[in-house]
Each structure stands twice: as structure tokens, then as C-alpha cells.
């Protein structure tokens, strides 16, 4: 296990002592402090835009969607009124800011945990997702940790109060038990492990069908790279196996040495890819922020040494450095007016909540108090509503039962490895008919047709409802003239899709290389 500050009183021998060292070794909480700064900032990116809609999505004066309803619980937690929801949301934003700053850190984090989780529970369709659950876990663990001991307003205030001379022990970094950092590490490991289990349970994950449809969902942020990944299904198959192996191993290998480096680097790559391919933004930021829990004292020391070396290399003289806080005494509050930090914190919370409620009142989210009165409803076209929206639902078209046809020469994990439209005489061709999940049992025929649409060969096979692929094998023999051909898929008796291919003459060299049909 990666230990940074060994306790001399700890016995190094035996499972129990190793277990104790794993959870209770003392260290300066650098990693936790970084997580404390990053997670609230990430959550602010989500919660700030929702403040305008707080009344609508978190209160009884709006359209709440509590999570517990989906689990069959009618009334698990109270639903706040409009004003209360806005006050709570405003307070949450304040607590997230103070958590990041490290002002009254523990109270800030406890309040953030409670309010963030509560508000998320009230809106299960557009606020609560798995990243918000992960964030709730992290906030909870940070609440019981000493993450505010360094790099925080609290630590600055403490130093300022005691005003210790240089070399005084108070000036040294405070240490605390490592167990909150361990809990964060185990949490992220369990998340990946559970995620791998989900993938195993998911039909179509290893054949990339799930990913191919997810990248086209358009339910997340813009993901231009993902839409192009549809062109490379075999690559998605390889990614699927890499992801699942990494997710299973993370919990076991990410503790120290090269295992830790590999796991974290692959993890960073994985999360960056979820942004590019799936259009996820906050999820990767939350997960990557937790990665700083893997930072120990030794890492910070090495980084500090590196920084020192770089400073010396580039001629930076620390003795000539001017303090960035020289202006600070100008703003010093007179001693008589100073208020204890907790009192000021409580007062600030109340002020923020009241200002939030007042601002929301002026903002008038439903436009009820505008001069022309409340909005009127937008009337819809009668013909469109009755003829389309309310008309009886139509059955699925045959062409919507088939996703596409891919033509190539080899398979990877059941998926066509190379999508081609040009072939040479003598090549064996695989025509893969990719079906949409939700199709019925079908008889699917694949026919090879020439440029005048005459059928050269055709054969079919049943495709049961659970099948997502049907392969047809052709040999483009020399009996076929070079030119344009079509691969046509017929489903349930009608043409569904066709794909043009070009057949080229087999080169003379390859003809000469080919074995004689007559045995020597």
C-alpha cells in the first residue's frame, strides 16, 4: 500500500497492522483538499444554470419529478414550496462556493451534502444522474474529513489568529488520518467495478450495438466525434473490451506503483473519450476530480521538487518575489468590527438566501407579474394534432427494422472489420445486415444484382427477433464481369436497403500467383 508517513508505533507485521496503516496512517491531506476545491466548482456548473428554474423543478409550485415515486414510494420526503426551494437552492450555491474556498469547511460541506442530495432527489429526470450520486458520495466523505486543513480560508484564518513565528509547529502542515482518502479511492473503484457489471448485463455491449446507438442519441451535449465512430464499429468493439478489463482491474491495481499510473492514465483517457464520443461533460469532471484522491504526500513532494528545479533552471529567484497580498492591509477590518467566522458565515448564508428569494421574485420565472399578465397557451395546428399526434400509432416500416448493410471481407467480434465498396474478382465478401432491436422475426434475403438490376444470386435466412446481425457470404468469382453491382436486402417481401459495389478486374500478378486448378 502506498504509505507516506509511517507511524513509528505501528507494527509493520501482520494483516491487522497493515489494515490499520492502510486506513489510519497520518498525512497532510493534499489530495482531499484538491478534491474539495474541484468537486464544488464542478457542481456549481450544474446548479447555477438551474437556479433560474429552481421554482419549476424543485418546488410544489412547479413540476417536480421526485426519485422515490419511481420506486413506488408516494411520500418519502417533503416537497418544498416555491420560496423555500429558491432559498435552499441559493444557500446550496453559497455552500458550494464556501466549500471550494474552505470557509467553515465542515459546516459548508455538510450543508452542501444534505441540500445537494435533497434537491437532486426532487428532480430525477433532469438533475439527478449517476454523476450527481457520485458527487453526493464525495461530498459526504469530504464532510467527515480534514480536507479544509490546508489551502482554505479556515487554515489561513487559523494561522492569522495565532500569528506564529517562522519555524513554529503551527506553521507546519496539519496531518490527519488517511481513511477519507481511502474511502474515495475505494468508491471510484467500486463505481468502475459496478459499471463493468452493468456492461456485462447489457445486451449488445460487446458487439458495439449499444455504443453505436448511444452516440446517435443526441440526449447529451454535442458529440461530433461520436457520430463519426459509427463508421468504425470494430474499433468500438476493441474499446468495449479495453474498457471492461480496465474497469474490473481498477479497484485492485490502482493503489501504487505502475499499476496506479496505468489505471489513472487509462481512466483519464476513458473519461476524455466519454466527452468526445458521448458528449458527457460533468460526469468526466466529477470522476477526474476524484482521481486527486490518489495523490499522496510523496507525489506532492516530488511535484514541489520539480517545480523548484524548474524555477532554478529558468532563473527565478524566490528572494526577489514580492508578496501578492501587499494590498491586503488596506482592506483590513478594524478589530472592533470583526465578527467570529461562524457568526459571519451564518449571517452570510441568511443574506444569500434572502437575496436569492428576492432576485427570483424580480425575475418572475412564470412571467405572471408582467404588464400584459400571464402567458397564453400556444395553439397547435388542429390537422397536425388530430391527423398525426393523436392518430392511431402506425406499425414499424420494414426499412426501420434494418439499421444498415455493411459489406467487407473480415469480422472482428462479430462486427464487420472493414467497410468497403470496391472489390476484386475472386474475393470473398461478407454482407452484414445489421438489424434494429425491436424488429420481429423476419425472413431476410440478400441478393447480388448487376447494374441492370438482374438478380445474379440470392439467398435468405430467418432472423429471429433477438438477433441483431445476419451475415451473407459471397464469392465474387471471375465469372462476374468487372463493373457495378448491388447488394440488395429484402425484408418481409420488400426491398429495404441496397448498397452499390464496384467489382474490379483481378490483377495479372495475382492471377499468376494463384494456384492452378489442376493438380500437378
Amino acid at each position: 500500500m502506498s504509505m507516506t508517513t509511517a507511524q513509528p508505533s505501528l507494527d509493520d507485521v501482520g494483516l491487522q497492522s497493515r489494515f490499520r496503516r492502510f486506513f489510519y496512517a497520518e498525512e497532510v491531506p493534499y489530495g482531499l483538499a484538491i478534491v474539495r476545491i474541484l468537486i464544488p466548482l464542478a457542481l456549481l456548473c450544474v446548479m447555477l444554470p438551474r437556479w433560474v428554474y429552481a421554482r419549476e423543478i424543485f418546488s410544489s409550485d412547479g413540476a417536480v419529478a421526485p426519485l422515490w415515486i419511481a420506486y413506488g414510494y408516494a411520500k418519502m420526503l417533503p416537497i418544498p414550496s416555491g420560496i423555500l426551494a429558491v432559498a435552499l437552492h441559493s444557500s446550496l450555491i453559497f455552500f458550494l462556493v464556501t466549500s471550494a474556498l474552505g470557509w467553515c469547511t465542515r459546516i459548508s460541506l455538510v450543508c452542501s451534502t444534505v441540500l445537494y442530495t435533497y434537491l437532486n432527489l426532487l428532480d430525477s429526470i433532469s438533475t439527478m444522474t449517476k454523476y450527481s450520486v457520485i458527487a453526493s458520495h464525495v461530498l459526504l466523505i469530504l464532510s467527515v474529513s480534514q480536507c479544509g486543513a490546508i489551502w482554505s480560508v479556515d487554515s489561513w484564518l487559523r494561522r492569522r489568529q495565532k500569528n506564529p513565528p517562522p519555524g513554529d509547529p503551527v506553521r507546519t502542515r496539519p496531518t490527519s488520518a488517511v481513511w477519507p482518502r481511502r474511502l474515495l479511492q475505494i468508491l471510484i473503484g467500486c463505481i468502475y467495478f459496478g459499471s463493468a457489471l452493468t456492461k456485462i448485463h447489457t445486451q449488445g455491449f460487446f458487439s458495439s450495438d449499444q455504443m453505436q446507438t448511444w452516440v446517435l442519441t443526441r440526449a447529451n451535449f454535442h458529440n461530433p466525434v461520436g457520430e463519426y465512430m459509427v463508421l468504425f464499429p470494430a474499433l468500438l468493439v476493441i474499446f468495449a473490451y479495453v474498457a471492461i478489463v480496465w474497469e474490473f482491474l481498477f479497484l485492485f491495481l490502482s493503489w501504487n506503483g505502475w499499476g496506479r499510473v496505468f489505471m489513472l492514465v487509462i481512466g483519464a483517457g476513458f473519461h476524455v473519450m466519454t466527452t468526445l464520443i458521448l458528449g458527457l461533460y460533468i460526469f468526466p469532471v466529477v470522476c477526474l476530480s476524484i482521481y486527486f484522491a490518489f495523490l499522496n504526500e510523496g507525489d506532492v513532494q516530488r511535484f514541489a521538487d520539480l517545480l523548484q528545479r524548474l524555477k532554478r533552471k529558468f532563473g527565478f529567484d524566490p528572494s526577489r518575489r514580492q508578496s501578492g497580498f501587499q494590498w491586503w492591509p488596506l482592506f483590513q477590518v478594524p478589530q472592533a468590527v470583526r465578527m467570529p467566522s461562524p457568526a459571519l458565515f451564518t449571517l452570510s448564508t441568511l443574506v444569500v438566501a434572502v437575496i436569492g428569494v428576492e432576485l427570483e421574485h424580480w425575475n418572475d420565472p412564470y412571467d405572471i407579474r408582467r404588464p400584459e399578465g400571464p402567458h397564453t397557451l400556444r395553439e397547435l395546428d388542429l390537422e397536425f394534432v388530430e391527423g398525426t399526434l393523436l392518430a392511431s400509432s402506425e406499425p414499424m416500416r420494414n426499412r426501420d427494422k434494418v439499421a444498415r448493410i455493411d459489406i467487407g471481407t473480415f469480422l472482428i467480434g462479430g462486427v464487420l472489420g472493414n467497410r468497403r465498396t470496391e472489390f476484386k474478382q475472386g474475393e470473398n465478401v461478407i454482407v452484414q445486415c445489421v438489424m434494429n432491436a425491436g424488429h420481429e422475426d423476419m425472413w431476410v434475403e440478400c441478393s447480388l444484382r448487376d447494374d441492370r438490376d438482374r438478380v445474379i444470386s440470392s439467398f435468405g435466412r430467418p432472423v429471429a427477433r433477438e438477433m441483431l446481425r445476419s451475415n451473407y457470404y459471397y464469392e465474387l468469382s471471375e465469372a462476374l464481369e468487372p463493373g457495378t453491382y448491388f447488394m440488395v436486402i429484402n425484408g418481409a417481401g420488400e426491398e429495404v436497403l441496397r448498397r452499390q459495389i464496384t467489382l474490379r478486374l483481378r490483377s495479372k500478378i495475382s492471377q499468376a500467383d494463384s494456384k492452378s486448378p489442376v493438380a500437378n
Binding site: 486506513f23 413540476a63 422515490w68 415515486i69 419511481a70 420506486y71 414510494y73 467553515c104 465542515r106 432527489l121 429526470i125 433532469s126 450520486v133 496539519p174 490527519s176 474511502l183 467500486c190 467495478f193 459496478g194 457489471l197 452493468t198 447489457t202 449488445g204 450495438d209 448511444w214 446517435l216 442519441t217 443526441r218 440526449a219 451535449f221 454535442h222 461530433p224 463519426y228 463508421l231 467570529p340 461562524p342 420565472p365 412571467d367 405572471i368 400571464p374 402567458h375 397564453t376 397557451l377 400556444r378 395553439e379 397547435l380 398525426t388 399526434l389 393523436l390 400509432s393 406499425p395 414499424m396 426499412r399 426501420d400 467497410r419 434494429n436 425491436g438 436497403l497 441496397r498 448498397r499
Partner: protein, 262 residues
């Protein structure tokens, strides 16, 4: 057992706990510290926190692995890591429409004041894939707007094949034909303006599945031969699309009916 010295415990408590500066609490805490009780209490609290938290985490993973009780309580949502667990080949949107007394139809979601777009360009209502929460959107819209009396609210599912979401250049590399987008609509719920549900229908995709099952004459005949029998008890009768003899008739048109006919 390793015991941290009391001065460490005091230092830990001092960090971020300005409450200890309050005179009465300060005296009590100092006495407790001197007796070593706080140190012991803190140690046991820490042990309990670690054991309970890790127990909950690993139980969640175990339940998820064997698919046991994963939806038994909302707390399970916090311990089951089933991200991206489902998928569909069809895109899905939700339309919420109100029918006025005059026979006119109105858009009830998004509200005329604007909408939250939580994860991109898609409005909040479209994340309610099953349409269960959409009636609330409608009621909220009705509550904050001027309108004629509304007789019914319709939650309508709009569905299309996801392949039509491809950008044009990607489409042209895979298909020879131009895009031929077809949208399917299915009424999911019919609700009164005060929130009473009048009708609920399965999703369009579930209906397609039901139709494909109904196309099997042998299965239909066997289902008709089945005779449900209840010997005792208030066992709920199996209901739904696939309960005894309850196959969807593909020829049967789904009707939402008139205002007075339902």
C-alpha cells in the same frame, strides 16, 4: 490497538470546529478530552463510518451483480452503478398537448416562459422517456397561464429510427439512399386537467413487440386456451399486454376517443 495521543485528537477537533470556542462547550470538551472519552468516541465513530460505508458500497455492487433488489428502495440508486444500462435503436421525444373546450389544441410543455435544457439542446420534458412525469408539466403550465377550460391532456411519444440522426456526410458513407425519416406517434397517457389518469398505453416500441407476438397464431391459440383460476386470496390478476388472452390485435386501431365518449 494504536491510540492517537490526546493532543492530536484536540488538534483534529480544533480544525474547522469553531464551536469549541463557545465557553460552556469548551469546558465540557476539555474535560472529555482529559478523560480520553472523546478520543475513544471519535475512534469508534471512525471505525463505524468506515465499516458502514464500505459495507453499503460492497452490498450495492453485490446486489447489482446478482440483480437482487436493485429497485427495492430509492437508496439503491445511490449504490447501484448501472450507468448506460439500456439502449434503444429509436430516438424518443415527448409532446404534451391540451385539448380545450372549443376543440382547439394547445402546447402544454415546454411552458411559454421557456424551459430548462439540462444536458445540451434538449428540453427537460424529453428526458421523461416513459412520460410518467409529463402530466405534471402540463398541470404546471395550466396553473401559470391564461387559457380556456381544458378538457383533456395528452402525453404523446414521438419516435424515429436513430440512424436518421447521423450527420449527412456520415450517412452518405453508409447509405446510397437519401434519408427517409419517418416519425411514429403513440399516445402514452390521457389525463384530466386536474391530474386524473384516464388512459395509459405502452410505449410505441413495446406495442410493436406486442404486435410481433400477436402475429404468432399458435401462441394466440394457446393463450386463449389458458383459463386463469383463483382458488383463494386477493392475488392481483395478471394484467397487461401479455396476460391471458390479452394479445394486441394489430388490426385494432388505438383510439383516444371523444371528450364525452370516454
Amino acid at each position: 490497538m494504536y491510540n492517537r495521543p490526546p493532543e492530536f485528537a484536540k488538534a483534529d477537533l480544533d480544525q474547522n470546529t469553531s464551536i469549541l470556542k463557545i465557553p460552556f462547550i469548551s469546558v465540557v470538551s476539555n474535560r472529555l478530552l482529559e478523560s480520553g472519552k472523546v478520543s475513544r468516541m471519535k475512534r469508534w465513530l471512525t471505525h463505524s463510518m468506515i465499516v458502514v460505508y464500505l459495507g453499503a458500497l460492497f452490498s450495492g455492487v453485490a446486489c447489482h451483480a446478482v440483480e437482487f433488489g436493485t429497485a427495492s428502495h430509492p437508496i439503491m440508486y445511490f449504490f447501484v452503478w448501472d450507468m448506460f444500462c439500456g439502449w434503444s435503436a429509436f430516438s424518443n421525444r415527448i409532446q404534451v398537448v391540451g385539448e380545450g373546450e372549443s376543440g382547439a389544441y394547445y402546447e402544454l410543455s415546454p411552458g411559454p416562459w421557456g424551459e430548462l435544457k439540462p444536458f445540451g439542446n434538449l428540453g427537460r420534458q424529453h428526458y421523461d422517456y416513459m412520460g410518467y412525469r409529463s402530466p405534471r408539466f402540463a398541470l404546471n403550465c395550466l396553473k401559470h397561464t391564461r387559457h380556456e377550460p381544458i378538457t383533456r391532456v395528452f402525453v404523446i411519444e414521438e419516435t424515429w429510427d436513430k440512424k436518421y440522426n447521423m450527420p449527412e456526410d456520415v450517412w452518405n458513407r453508409i447509405y446510397d439512399e437519401p434519408k427517409d425519416l419517418k416519425k411514429y406517434y403513440q399516445v402514452r397517457h390521457v389525463v384530466t386537467p386536474d391530474g386524473v389518469i384516464l388512459q395509459t398505453h405502452p410505449s410505441w416500441l413495446s406495442r410493436q413487440f406486442a404486435i410481433s407476438l400477436a402475429n404468432n397464431p399458435r401462441l394466440q391459440a394457446e393463450s386463449r386456451r389458458n383459463k386463469p383460476f383463483y382458488a383463494f386470496g386477493p392475488n392481483p390478476r395478471p394484467r397487461g399486454t401479455f396476460a391471458s388472452g390479452n394479445f394486441v390485435d394489430p388490426a385494432l386501431r388505438q383510439r383516444v376517443g371523444s371528450q364525452l365518449g370516454e
